[in-house]
């Protein structure tokens, strides 16, 4: 925003159905997030669009397929494609997920949970270090939503996330919806999760919608951000500080205006202009 000190603003996850709308209307969002893998092609229309948008918006390259936590070797081809993309577009942020997706070369193309053990921590820290070295820059790593916990876990998720950042020097991309979903699914206190985060490590927030599943909540990215998540986001901003924020909607996409309204709400919270009227009380 011209004339004001730069402060973190909100943007949207740009998905194919909104490519035309964003290019035509150039909405005044602070940044755009795209999924890195959608731009791994050698050429074509998607890359050309990103080339046109990069001059207008800071970009956030958000990977979903690197399988950071896998016991397999890092996929050299995937890493090379990511490196090419990062060098070409010089994004404001490069991020991936604290999860795994493949073993023995078979991919689930999903964000699968890691056991929160010392061994898994050592492994994923070493992998993040390798990726950061390869890209020549800091990676931000996102906490995932999960629908199970492993018996062998020896520490709570927030301790695992905080230790990953502390030891690898990576940043945390704090997905507030995922914190909330997991707090419901696994019965922990979301406030304790936020309290365990080092404010200096948090580089970006994500917001998205969840839905009720067969048990617990499912992180579907197919609904508006829930009131409880807005409240938790306001608390995160107050406690950890304002950071660039992305509203993600990946299935059953609404019209662009609806998504922009959600980003506008996040912007208001970042600016301290708004607190949700009802802060839900948390049961002890």
């Amino acid at each position: 925003m011209a004339g004001t000190l730069a402060r973190p603003g909100a943007g949207i996850g740009l998905r194919t159905p909104h490519h035309g709308g964003v290019e035509r209307t150039a909405p005044p969002v602070a940044l755009l997030e795209v999924h890195s893998e959608n731009y791994f092609g050698a050429g074509g229309g998607e890359l050309a669009l990103l080339e046109r948008l990069r001059g207008r918006y800071p970009l956030s390259l958000h990977g979903v397929g690197l399988s950071l936590g896998s016991a397999d070797a890092l996929d050299e081809r995937h890493l090379a494609a990511l490196e090419r993309l990062v060098r070409r577009f010089e994004p404001a942020l490069v991020s991936e997920h604290l999860s795994w997706s493949s073993i023995d070369g078979r991919y689930a193309n999903d964000l699968l949970p890691l056991p929160h053990t010392r061994a898994a921590l050592d492994h994923v820290v070493a992998r993040i270090e390798k990726v950061q070295e390869r890209l020549g820059r800091q990676l931000a790593v996102e906490n995932i939503a999960s629908y199970l916990e492993f018996g062998e876990s020896t520490m709570p998720e927030w301790e695992f996330v905080a230790a990953v950042a502390r030891r690898s020097g990576c940043a945390i991309l704090l997905d507030v919806n995922n914190v909330y979903v997991n707090s419901v699914n696994h019965g922990f206190d979301a406030h304790a999760y936020l309290a365990a985060m080092d404010p200096a490590a948090v580089a970006q927030y994500h917001l998205a919608g969840h839905e009720a599943g067969p048990f617990g909540l499912v992180d579907t990215h197919a609904a508006p951000v829930a009131p409880e998540v807005w409240a938790l986001y306001a608390e995160a901003v107050a406690r950890l500080g304002p950071r660039p924020t992305i509203v993600e909607w990946d299935a059953n996409l609404p019209p662009l205006e609806v998504l922009l309204d959600e980003a506008g709400r996040a912007d208001a919270i970042l600016a301290g202009r708004h607190l949700p009227s009802r802060m839900p009380e948390r049961a002890a």
Binding site: A42, G45, V64, S70, A108, G151
Partner: protein
């Protein structure tokens, strides 16, 4: 590390093979059967991978129907599990798979339609190339034109079929009702991308031979000779169209030795 590999192998067996026991023993119940928790992940994986295949193969899906396509997709993923964290790479073996897929044996043309859709998918993601410099091409003296090497755009693909593969593909685009309008004859498809737009059109055997020769590095003279009977007027019109459409994306004057 090997503990982690063990856990991930057990999890993968649940996801890909429906073998839940080993993974379920390592999952906390917390009021829900571990197998149910794993089944949620299995459903999510299958939905994601099915949707990626459906996006790449809309015509195959329309031809067999949504319900049957789900079955095809699951059977395909069992035979060819995803090997990449990039979903754009999922589905490259579908044509070969459906060619040998007994439940679809009645749809003999299905494999060729799948090959055409994969060609379109590859074409959309292929490298860019600068537009042909037509002015420079026009300046090549007549006596040296035959030695020119024309370069095909990196997005160019060709698909041969014993079936009217282009006719079927066109009839099953979103704005058509699926009925075939043209003759039911063997067709060859040319696929290419101009800007962001992937195009498909039918070509005859002569044009196929010409493009094959160019793709193999033949000079213009040799490529024309490969067509057999074509006359000069026809060749000129064909090259002009290929250049205007962006199928030909560059040239090297033949006098320059490689």
């Amino acid at each position: 590390m090997s503990e982690l590999a063990d856990l991930q192998r057990a999890f993968a067996a649940a996801l890909h093979d429906g073998a839940f026991d080993a993974a379920a023993r390592r999952v906390r119940a917390l009021g829900v059967l571990p197998a149910e928790r794993l089944a949620l992940y299995r459903r999510n994986m299958r939905a994601t991978q099915h949707d990626a295949l459906a996006a790449t193969y809309p015509v195959v899906r329309r031809l067999v129907g949504e319900a049957f396509f789900r079955v095809v997709a699951l059977d395909y993923l069992r035979a060819w599990p995803s090997r990449s964290g990039n979903l754009d790479e999922l589905g490259g073996e579908l044509a070969g798979f459906v060619a040998a897929y007994a439940p679809a044996a009645d749809l003999a043309y299905l494999a060729d339609v799948a090959r055409l859709e994969w060609a379109c998918h590859e074409s959309a993601l292929a490298a860019d190339a600068p537009a042909l410099d037509t002015a420079a091409l026009a300046q090549v003296p007549a006596e040296r034109q035959g030695a020119i090497h024309l370069r095909l755009h990196p997005s160019v693909r060709r698909v041969e079929s014993e079936y009217p593969v282009v006719e079927i593909w066109e009839a099953n685009q979103p704005d058509r009702d699926g009925s075939l309008l043209g003759d039911v004859v063997a067709e060859r498809a040319l696929v290419w991308r101009a800007g962001p737009l992937v195009s498909v059109r039918r070509i005859d055997g002569a044009e196929r031979d010409f493009l094959d020769a160019l793709a193999h590095g033949a000079a213009l003279d040799a490529a024309v000779a490969a067509m057999g009977t074509a006359d000069a007027t026809r060749v000129a019109a064909m090259v002009e169209r290929l250049a205007a459409d962006g199928v030909i994306a560059g040239f090297t004057p033949g006098a320059v030795a490689a």
